[in-house]
Amino acid sequence: MVQLPVKATLAALALAFVVPPPALAEDSKDPIKLTLHDWTGQLVSAHIMGEVLKKAGLNIEYVQADYLAQFAGLKTGDVHVAMEIWATTGKEALDEATATKQVENLGETGMLAIEEWWFPEYMKEQCPGLPDWKALKGCAEKFSVPETAPKGRYLGGPVTWGGFDEERVAALDLPFEVVHAGTDAALFAELESAYQRKAPIVLWIYAPHWAPIKYKGEWVAFPPYEPACYTDPAWGINKEKTHDCGKPRGPIWKVAWSGVKDKWPTAYTAIKGFNITNEEMGKLVGAVDLDGKKLEDVVDGWMKENEGRWKKWIGG
């Protein structure tokens, strides 16, 4: 059922031959299906987890799936493990899924999702005062295009990401218009193009991701987020409106079908143990996306360097 490049499959098979899996009576022999999405960070997390589970003698399988469409599969047990569900983008779907009791949140990955307005470094010259958000008020025209003039253009994420940018613009009285990109590929395509031409741009960027590694720039410094900012109008600078602050930062969770606990107890504890930091992930993603290394090689390298760590996850 898995569509892996033949090489990876062969490598996996070779591994299966060379290292005879230690017998674990309580774990099922059926493959545990880990989902793969279309961004490198997630591929790295999933492959690290997969390799670790293999070392524990478990049978695993990678399945390509859409980030949000996968919840349908997690609920029914068609797929079993999703390694990266971001509090910032997937919370709604996750809450809905865990409420059915068919899906279980296996805790934080250790990575912290950052999402915020971001600008390339060269904009500091054109708009002095950045990264302080108040500077944006003065140089909105620098960011404007015919569709939004005289207001500035802020490129937001896909509508499905939420983010309350319209509310933020209104509450902080920023002379900006929010334009939503349809996908994050489109988002970064615009950044790439602007960066190549040193053209003005302010947009939604998230981390861990290769973009803040590849491009020099900074997050806009809004008043820091507090839960009250989103609920209590009296909070913050604007006494009448909510959302007069930056975006919350949130954990990235590991999520599994609720049957995993009984069917593969070893895997269950191993996935719970999985832990990696933003910096580590940034480096791994950079090695794949910017240096053009092979995903398998990068994951192998990590496995060799961190043997002590992952052995603990599988209780070895």
Binding site: A16, T40, A65, D66, L68, G182, S193
Partner: protein, 670 residues
């Protein structure tokens, strides 16, 4: 009222003002008035029905779905168990195909699986394809088909391409068989046909994203679900073609069959289907091409393969790699298309070429030898990685160079069009209150096709209104209308030129083939780099995708003008320009209109894709519903897209019929 009667009246009394024109002028004046007055005059309920008046169909569908998945029961087994069983059955041929082509024969599953036998070596697959090409179409086709597959190996796309191919070789035959059965049933039973026709319309116009979630729930996650979505999308042309082809079987053949005393079953199987074979193969070809169109969407729900490569490459902005994977899809499509076409055309020639069995034996021997050799010589089994080529860096650099150097130039064009065409049209469309639009549609429907057509288009428009999606629909109409306008202007011009000039056609044809099979995502991302996120980029994508039928049909229309007519024109001393204007264009017009019709359909099917670059239309609604797993909302928005498509289709067809009737009326008079 018959068309001819209207026409003759208009001819008889030229002095009297045509009532139709008056009505149209009134509608136009009202529309302009709505545009000018703005929000103050038109009551809010004419823009969007208040929530309490809406049908609430979406929540109904969602709860029906929940019931189907969780509770529906036939006594012995549940509905879900039934769909899962179907999925398990469909999984068998898929497993066989992947075993042969991509994964080899395995014992067990997942990473613990042990490979018992490797898949077919690449040399064998290229050989099989080339041999089939030789058999169906001679050395040239052998070169083309073999070359296509060689490309896949040389450019490092082999593994993914074989994954994609194995799902196509299963999905396409199932789609073809299902289409054939439904088509025969539709031909035999008029009632079935009447039920089937609107269902087919929906299958072709409801965007796939809209029914992806229910399919995932019912059939499970993975390649099988992707295959079912592919079949739903790709089978309708086969049904249509089968019904049309059976009806077109010459009466003599049927009578001969009757005289020979055939049973109804023999009649269909042994007489009519063989007689209809050439047309049926056109349907086969369509199924294959449409299946390849689904590769990207299928990869989103676990089909993997080339579609997944395109998506991941573009997410890293590795445009070159994305393009190479996209081109691999085109190459696969070209090879399969040319092979199936040659098979359709060359049935007779093949018999002359000698014994089929010798051919098969020779091929089997070749495969066996390469397979055996491949076990010992790895480079025969898998193409050595050291010899793969990649043009990816070159493409990425080219895109970068264009963005850096030509951005301002393109930006100026974009700004001009935005300010002078796009934004005014958008504002105009959004200013229209729905009662006016529904009335105008009903009137046009009535004039073109009578009361039934009027009721149909007005009803479909009201369906959109009642679901509270009017504004999103108007944005969709605006995007598609401008996209179709551009596509028709460029496409008809190019098509006419290519129709007159066979040498140009030879260049144009592969270009439009590529445009139709290259996943639009591949050019959407570079387009964003040049034109930023927004309506303009969306319209550009729609135009590019919808161009192909406009070109194809216009060219065919011109090519099919009887030689006699052109010669008659020449002998009367017409200039080439006069021949084109007075003879070729009028004769080709109904065909060109059909091309426009197809252009509209393709433009609408692009709506969901354009949502990926951030439009605020029905496509976006479908996409949001997909990401929130909201079955009802997605299906309702999808049905609204279908409603727009059916309205456009019926009106254009009625107009084309009317034109054809007028012309034949005129030629009778002459």
């Amino acid at each position: 009222m018959s068309v001819a009667a209207v026409n003759s009246k208009a001819v008889d009394i030229p002095a009297r003002v045509n009532p139709t024109s008056v009505a149209m002028a009134v509608f136009a004046a009202l529309a302009l008035l709505a545009f000018a007055t703005g929000d103050s005059v038109i009551p809010a309920w004419m823009r969007e029905l208040p929530r309490s008046w809406q049908l609430g169909l979406d929540s109904g569908i969602s709860s029906l779905m929940k019931w189907l998945v969780e509770q529906a029961n036939f006594g012995l087994f549940t509905f879900k168990e039934m769909t899962r069983a179907i999925a398990a059955v469909l999984n068998v041929p898929l497993e066989v195909a992947t075993a042969f082509l991509s994964r080899g024969l395995q014992e067990g599953r997942g990473s613990a699986a042990v490979q018992l036998a490797p898949p077919l070596p690449w040399v064998a697959v290229v050989g099989i394809v080339a041999a089939l090409g030789y058999r169906f179409g001679g050395p040239r086709l052998a070169l083309v088909a073999g070359g296509c597959f060689l490309y896949l190996a040389v450019f490092g796309q082999w593994a993914s391409a074989m994954t994609t191919l194995s799902s196509i070789v299963v999905a396409a035959p199932i789609g073809i068989a299902a289409g054939l059965v439904c088509g025969v049933a539709g031909y035999r039973m008029p009632l079935f046909r009447r039920i089937m026709t609107p269902v087919l319309d929906l299958m072709q116009t409801v965007p796939t994203f809209a029914y992806l979630i229910p399919i995932l729930f019912l059939f499970g996650f993975g390649p099988v679900a992707a295959m079912i979505a592919t079949i739903i999308y790709a089978a309708p042309p086969m049904v249509r073609v089968t019904m049309a082809a059976l009806s077109a079987v010459p009466r003599e053949i049927v009578e001969y069959g009757t005289m020979a005393g055939t049973t109804p079953r023999q009649m269909i199987l042994n007489v009519m289907l063989p007689a209809a074979r050439p047309q049926l193969l056109v349907g086969v070809n369509q199924v294959i091409m449409l299946s390849l169109n689904m590769v990207i969407i299928a990869s989103m729900i676990g089909a993997g393969g080339l579609g997944f490569d395109v998506l991941t490459s573009l997410r890293r902005l590795d445009i070159g790699r994305g393009l190479e994977a996209g081109v691999a899809i085109v190459v696969l499509a070209v090879a399969l298309d040319r092979l199936s076409q040659a098979y359709a055309e060359g049935a007779r020639r093949r018999e002359a070429q000698g014994d089929g069995r010798t051919f098969l034996l020779a091929l089997a021997a070749f495969v066996a030898v390469t397979y055996f050799v491949g076990l010992f010589l790895p480079f025969v089994a898998t193409y050595p990685e050291a010899f793969t080529l990649s043009t990816a860096p070159w493409w990425s650099e080219a895109v970068r160079w264009i963005t850096v150097n030509f951005f301002d130039f393109f930006d100026a064009i974009k700004t001009f069009l935005l300010l002078n065409l796009l934004l005014p049209v958008k504002r105009f469309m959004l200013a229209q209150p729905w009662p006016l639009v529904v009335a105008a549609l009903a009137f046009v429907g009535w004039r073109l096709g009578g009361v039934r057509l009027a009721a149909l288009v007005a009803g479909l428009a009201l369906f959109i209104v009642l679901n509270g999606l009017w504004e999103f629909s108007m944005v969709s109409v605006y995007l598609c209308a401008i996209g179709v306008l551009f596509a028709a202007m460029i496409g008809i011009a190019v098509g006419i030129y290519a129709g007159l000039n066979p040498r140009a056609w030879r260049i144009v044809e592969p270009v439009i083939d590529t445009l139709q099979t290259l996943p639009s995502f591949v050019y959407l991302i570079p387009a964003v780099m040049l034109f930023k996120v927004g309506d303009f980029t969306a319209i550009l994508a729609i135009t590019l995708y919808a161009l192909a039928p406009a070109v194809r049909f216009s060219a065919h229309g011109i090519q099919q003008v009887p030689e006699m007519l052109v010669e008659a024109g020449t002998s009367m001393g017409c200039t080439r320009r006069q021949i084109l204007q007075r003879i070729q264009l009028p004769v080709a017009l109904p065909t060109i209109l059909l091309g426009v019709n197809q252009t509209v359909m393709l433009a609408l099917s692009m709506l969901v894709i354009t949502a990926l670059v951030g439009t605020r239309d029905l496509g976006q609604q479908v996409y949001i519903a997909l990401t929130k797993a909201d079955t009802g909302k997605g299906l309702v928005a999808g049905l609204c897209v279908a409603a727009i498509a059916i309205i456009a289709d019926r009106l254009i067809q009625a107009a084309a019929n009317r034109l054809a009737a007028q012309r034949s009326g005129a030629s009778h008079a002459a």
